[in-house]
Symmetry: C2
Subunit: 243 residues, 2 copies
């Protein structure tokens, strides 16, 4: 799909990691299709995760009582957010598809998963969501969920886990993996209007063989060949909780 | 309960906020009981949320391939984590009860909620969880969920929301509020062994009247009077998903 624009928001400290490989093949495959790919490499950028008054470049509406959400909203309208936020918002604005590539776990044993980033994304990526997807840019009232401002865009979470697939089932020790996707896919991305493509979950690459890891990377590259033909998931509670 | 130790991990930028009031009355009430209360005021501390190699004060196990979880585990065993992590771990270690006091939303309208921190906690608090609750300190293998290292401690999430209670029901626009507690209470705190006390959720203080806000603060102070007699919740999927 020549001409499509893709933003990859990438959060891993080590370029040679499995996450780094997934990011690299995505860039290659999407470039091959003629897409324009931008990568926000959050650790390399030392991206600021803290939501503070430094995010407001201009004068505060109420310097005596700081409300982050209110100040960010007003600053967004006046284009006086701090430049790192504006830079990221421009990348999101231009993108047809935003891929979030990160790691949810890291192993110190061959046997059990460690939820290093606690059933969620690392704080550096959480901070990207807190600060970049602000009111006035990503949503407003009206203008959320199906009418969120980013409703013409696709989003896809590509996560690696420490745990094996069988741990993430309804009866497994960590519950169905879809449970922990609820706050990210529905509460965050869908709220902003994004259509959600099925997540790409690479289970337990650290305990896989070299060959299995290569297969996981290859299957991601393979999926990307037809990514523009995919239908979004129906992002409602039954997808997550099977009601 | 004189002699009990409580750590309040507090994440709000504005001391005069409703969150600030909830924190203040908790300190007052617990002091009145003779408890020793410590507050980690994350924004005031400018707490670092990013998990990077700076967290390892000593020599890395593998400087050529950085795995955060592995390096943090080894550094924890050798007591060579960076000092801000060690300071927080000491506070957790000494506490009988850890209260997390934070805000999940901030309003810019009287009518609809804004999930400012995206169905989760702000990145600064997420980063506290990522970095402080590391393997070797909070859990190991064996040693997680009911046998997590912090199993003799209680934890309680005290959250304020932007949205009103009726939005956080199974049929409400944001789903049952318990859905978004799963990654925090179960995936994080229970994984480390904490017994979970029922969450204290103050719905939509920004659209409440001054009197209603005072009532919410008073009911939190009232609950704390008998907090040591409370039984933990049964922290399993039925509590969250009603199966």
């Amino acid at each position: 799909m020549a001409g499509k624009k893709v933003l990859i928001v990438y959060a891993h400290q080590e370029p040679r990691s499995f996450n780094g490989s997934l990011k690299r093949v995505a860039v290659e495959e999407l470039n091959r299709q003629g897409c324009a790919v931008t990568v926000s490499d959050l650790y390399a950028m030392d991206f600021e995760p803290r939501a503070t008054r430094k995010d407001i470049a201009g004068v505060l509406c109420n310097p005596d009582f700081f409300r982050y959400g209110v100040e960010a909203y007003e600053a967004c309208k006046k284009r006086s957010l701090t430049s790192d936020i504006i830079d990221e918002q421009k990348k999101v604005q231009e993108a047809d598809l935003v891929i979030f590539q990160t790691c949810r776990g890291c192993m110190k044993t061959r046997f059990v998963h460690f939820p290093l980033y606690w059933f969620s994304v690392p704080a550096i990526l959480k901070g990207w969501m807190d600060r970049v997807l602000c009111q006035g840019f990503a949503f407003d009232v009206p203008g959320f969920y199906d009418s969120g401002f980013l409703k013409d865009k696709l989003a896809l979470l590509s996560l690696t886990t420490g745990g094996m697939a069988e741990m993430y089932t309804k009866t497994g020790v960590s519950g169905d993996f879809r449970y922990f996707l609820w706050p990210l896919q529905h509460g965050t991305l869908h709220f902003c209007g994004f259509k959600i493509l099925a997540p790409q979950i690479s289970f337990a690459p650290e305990i896989a063989s070299e060959e299995e890891r290569k297969e996981m990377v290859a299957s991601w590259a393979q999926r990307l060949k037809t990514i523009w033909k995919e239908e979004p998931i129906l992002c409602t509670p039954p997808w997550y909780f099977g009601q």
